[in-house]
Symmetry: C2
DNA sequence: ATTACAGTGTGGTTAGACCACAGTGGTAAG
DNA sequence: CTTACCACTGTGGTCTAACCACACTGTAAT
């Protein structure tokens, strides 16, 4: 077993045993190195991995943002991983879109009316109406979809959904350039968003799921990314 | 931007541009360091991250297994990430089980009859009938579920499903100890597997999906892990 | 032809140094 | 007394230079 894996094991044990909780700080790199009788290099490699996993955040200096602190951001971590695999051509973009449809329709169907995430989603829609440029619109769009997914109350599904979105974010950005009429598309997307939210708020989960599926597939189809149709 | 992130960017670009393909070798660490004008330390931190992402595999010595070569194993990488987040108590096991149900029923519903993965699944079932100990049984069980998921032809869904399985593998192993009668459970699980495979092979996707959902939920419920019921 | 072995290049690991950064606390100027 | 300055401290970030274990390769001795 390699040295940095030993460090990883040790930190994972600290987490499992509850000796290290969310928001907690790891010992300094030098301290850990001495405690585990390994070089600082090996400690750093382990920390790098945890950072890539979204389990910790490393900050220089002193004060609240300093040191290596335990966080919980699986979404961005999974997103980076998927993005790299897309780069290797092992994960087709079509599969990612298809999975997004799967996860998001499931979430829309089970979204709980009355949770704060839905209120946030409604606010985001208002902001999107006023969005000046495409990038702002897309950023708000991403947050809307994440909020909707979170309303279902399954952290794994929200994290995975967010990561899928992130993995093809650049891709989506480029694709908007190919659209014939952004204003028309934007208007349509905003209308679809409101219809989805309305269906969710009327407790019509099945309708919401269908609308979400059509919404996502419609965008990528229009932008030129192939995607298989759903089973029904 | 930190130095190792620069190295990551460079490697990701090589992948995106196709200069580096699956099975290809990265330049030696010393060569990369000189080429990018950074220290070998920074190169190594980047490689560590890619390794954790399942994008490369590093091997010492010389020959076919030596050097840093591009692979595509998103499943184990995502699995490790999820496992760590489970350790932080940020991802409830129940959510993972629920997501597994979601992904696997979807895959069972869309599994394509005639693909080699289904033949492999059938063989695995035969081996499970002859499995001597629990660990062997569980290992074969895992492979069966992965094969079934792969039969749907969506690489992202299979990878995520496998990673979810892996994230709670230890957990599942411990839980089998709590079962009142392993022989009875094993017999039931094997019967359920055959029913699932039969439904898939009869092109009865809906039935297969229901059976899979009941199969997974049943196991974890019996083992004492809570899971919310499906919407229908 | 076979065997033994030095050579070569790979990642793995270490020690020790220096840097930028951001708070802390003492100190000198007002 | 207040204020402004600044050295101090501890954090992660980076670099250099060395050595190790490993696995193959070519060569030389048998």
């Amino acid at each position: 077993m390699r040295t940095h894996e030993l460090v990883l094991q040790w930190i994972e044990k600290q987490l499992s045993d509850g000796d290290l909780a969310l928001g907690g700080r790891l010992p300094g790199e030098r301290a850990m190195a001495e405690q585990l009788q390994v070089s600082r290099t090996s400690v750093r490699e382990a920390v790098r991995i945890l950072e890539a996993m979204g389990v910790v955040r490393a900050g220089v200096g002193s004060g609240k943002d300093a040191g290596t602190v335990v966080i919980a951001e699986p979404g961005s971590a999974l997103g980076s991983t998927l993005r790299l695999h897309v780069a290797t051509r092992h994960l087709p973009v079509a599969d990612i879109v298809e999975t997004r449809v799967l996860l998001e329709s499931w979430a829309a169907e089970r979204a709980k009316v009355g949770v704060p995430e839905l209120e946030e989603a409604a606010e985001l829609l208002d902001q999107m109406d006023a969005a000046a440029d495409i990038d702002t619109f897309l950023a708000l769009d991403a947050r809307f979809h994440v909020a909707l997914a979170q309303a279902a109350g399954n952290t794994v599904v929200s994290a995975m959904m967010a990561s899928l979105r992130g993995a093809i974010e650049n891709y989506a950005g480029e694709l908007t350039g190919n659209l014939p009429d952004w204003n028309a598309t934007s208007t349509r997307l905003r209308a679809e968003h409101r219809a989805i939210l309305a269906a969710v708020n009327s407790n019509d989960g099945a309708e919401a799921a269908e609308l979400v599926a059509a919404h996502i597939q419609g965008f990528y189809t229009e932008a030129g990314v192939g995607s298989n149709p759903p089973p029904n």
